[in-house]
């Protein structure tokens, strides 16, 4: 499941030549391009000039100790940080070539294209059906038949259909934690995003539920670009194709997951993944 990738920097395109291989691995078909991104919460700087490219239809993991800025970075991608008071961002994030921080960007359309699954499952206090249909309703789809199709397709994609098809009208809050999290994934894919951001999606789940989510991520890989934040290194190595290691708001190392875990180029990375700190 982890692809081998060329280790030689020569394989990268011309502008990449000469850049630090620990930070700028060659990426085929990047969908997101973060360029020198810095972020301040008030006076405190949380991200320091982060640059990385995220490949399309692959799983990219952000790892690092708590408070290293990995969730902050993730929330920059769908501009959810805009909602925080006193936040200031510099740098660029290009999504398919367009700067998402451009004031002209329609942030609601952006968030429709870049879905998100949160650390704690957050179903709306509505029925299972309404949770999944929510995004479609927001986009003005009103016909019951159309909604039915979307709900069924999304729940099937999230491997939840068989469990809930007989109780679609029951409250989503009556489901188990793992089911709720898969419902949130179904809800996210119901709006047919291109990218799904997953912010520690399994941190509140037991190992069996976690395994199901990871399996689901693999199933969705062909269709969606996934970016997952996790503090669980085994999980990162199990599910992701690329891994970025962040520490104190700086990108320390980024590369193919297998390479990064087996052959870290930076001392800090090695210390972290071998459990010497963090």
């Amino acid at each position: 499941m982890i692809e081998t990738e060329p280790r030689t920097p020569e394989a990268a395109t011309a502008p990449a030549a000469g850049r630090d291989p620990a930070l700028r691995p060659p990426i085929e078909d990047p969908i997101l391009d973060v360029e020198d991104l810095s972020l301040w919460y008030g006076e405190k700087q949380a991200l320091h000039g982060i640059s990385l490219e995220i490949p399309a239809r692959k799983i990219t993991a952000f790892i690092g100790p708590s408070g290293c800025g990995k969730s902050t970075l993730l929330r920059c991608i769908n501009r959810l940080n805009d909602l925080v008071d006193g936040v200031r961002v510099e740098g660029e994030i290009r999504f398919e070539g367009e700067d998402i921080r451009d004031p002209e960007t329609d942030v609601n359309r952006l968030r429709k294209r870049i879905g998100m699954v949160f650390q704690k499952s957050n179903p709306f206090p509505k029925s299972i059906y309404e949770n999944v249909a929510y995004g479609a309703r927001i986009q003005g789809i009103k016909k019951k038949a159309d909604l039915d199709v979307i709900v069924e397709r999304s729940l099937r994609s999230a491997a939840l259909w068989d469990e809930v098809k007989d109780r679609l009208d029951e409250s989503a809050l009556g489901m188990s934690g793992g089911q709720q999290q898969r419902l949130c994934i179904a809800r996210a894919i119901a709006v047919e995003p291109e990218v799904i951001l997953l912010d520690e999606p399994c941190s509140a789940l037991d190992p069996i539920a976690t395994a199901r989510i990871e399996e689901l991520m693999q199933d969705l890989k062909d269709q969606y670009t996934q970016v997952v934040v996790t503090h669980n290194m085994q999980q990162a190595s199990r599910v992701s194709d690329y891994t970025a290691f962040l520490y104190l708001g700086k990108l320390v190392e980024y590369g193919g997951t297998e390479r990064l875990f087996l052959n870290p180029l930076k001392k800090q990375t090695e210390d972290y993944i071998t459990g010497r700190f963090g």
Partner: protein
Amino acid sequence: MPRDAETRYRRRSDRLGNSFTALCGGALALNLLLVLGILALLAWNGGRFFWQRDLVELTLRDGGKRLGEIWETEKRAAEAHAGADPAVDRIRMKIGNRDLAGLDFAWIDRKDVRSTTKPGDAELLERFEYGNFYGWMEEIHAGGKVVARGAEAAWRAFPAWQKKKAAERAAAERLEKGPIGDVNYEIEKLRLARKKLDVAALPAEEKAARSAALESELALREAAYQKLADRLTALRSTLDSGTVVLRAAGGETKEMPISGIVSAVRPNRMNAWEKSLLYGRRVFHFIADDPRESNTEGGIFPAIFGTVMMVFLMSVAVVPLGVLAALYLREYAKQGPFVRLVRIAVNNLAGVPSIVFGVFGLGFFVYTVGGTLDKLFYPEVLPAPTFGTGGILWAALTLALLTVPVVIVAAEEGLAAVPRIVREGSLALGATKAETLWRVVIPAAAPGILTGMILAMARAAGEVAPLMIVGMVKLAPALPVDGRPPFVHLNAKFMHLGFAIYDVGFQSPNIEATTPLVFATALLLIAVVTAMNLAAIALRNHLRRKYAGSAV
């Protein structure tokens, strides 16, 4: 700490803890007892009033006779000390017959009483005027001759007559409320049209032509009205024909129309079951009938209706207002000193004496808003005000202002309880902030908002002071809702249970008779408020179940 000292300490703190628990429990028990005490007192004093006591005839030593219900027996302290002789007790007796004796109640010293009997055939007649009559029906006259003579014959003949009179009365009322009301309504409309025409800027010829058309129309209607009025007069005179001669215990007689009698019973011959039925009937009439005799008799249905409708209108006004304000404060406003100041102001608003809100309602809603509405939309009626006078809408809006702080506070708490992560979940799906608030946050906060509404309703239903200057009146038998457009008359004056308590108890010409009604009305007010709250609570629980799911 040495071991025994520690044990001592622990024992002491346990004792303290236990006593504190007992203290808290005691305080709660006392509170419950108070509430139950209030309810029991109201229920006993109010409920007893509708139970028919036996009629007692007292023969006095001076030869006089009194018939009525004994309400209480009082020991006279000064003389009780002297001899402790029960003969010095004083009896308070409801003797009715206000048209004969002038007073409904009499105090009689027991020592003046020679004998006490309960005549089985003694009758209690409830009348439309002058209150109850205690005595006997002696004769029934109809068509100029006596159709029944003697107490027994009259008693047997009476029900048929009463039925006939009830039918005649219903016919007269139907005519009054139906065709006559319609014609009156049309005449009123035509008059207004004429007034409008007078002030309208039109060429003289057209004005004259239209005026003539209106006049002929009006004449037509007035002729129709005259016809109907004549019919009504005829019905009325039939209704009032046929009289009954009544005899009181003291031998005085009185002749009155049969139609003036609401009901006749012989309480001393009734068994417990019959009395229970009578009790139920009286409670029903109290709740469902219009008031009579300046609110001292009959029912208080208009007051119940007015209270409920006013509270309903108030809720309709206060919930959107409070929720929108709370939404702005909690979701849109930048939190800071100014918002804190606004919150403090809102909370203080709840502490402003309610009469001040009444004055504001009078000055703002009635005079300013109402006056402007009149000038704009009802100029033809001026100087008679339409909305420029107190009415149920202004009263509801005044109370909405009074209770809006409660709703704001509760709604803010409800909104704050919706987790940020749920809002982010909606935003992350591409929903705008407004969509998120409308589709996720407000539904999730709905139970909290409804709690605010329940508190507001409870407060509003109990307010009387501000209403007295913005539209509540002593007597308004016409309900604010009827069958004529626009069906709901928001400018109508209305009655209110809270005011009825004060008015009936302390402003009525017959305080002794109506004091029990104060308790009954208070009980009814509590019942109405409880019923409205239960309805709102049921709605809240329904929403909770709907949004919280079975697991919670």
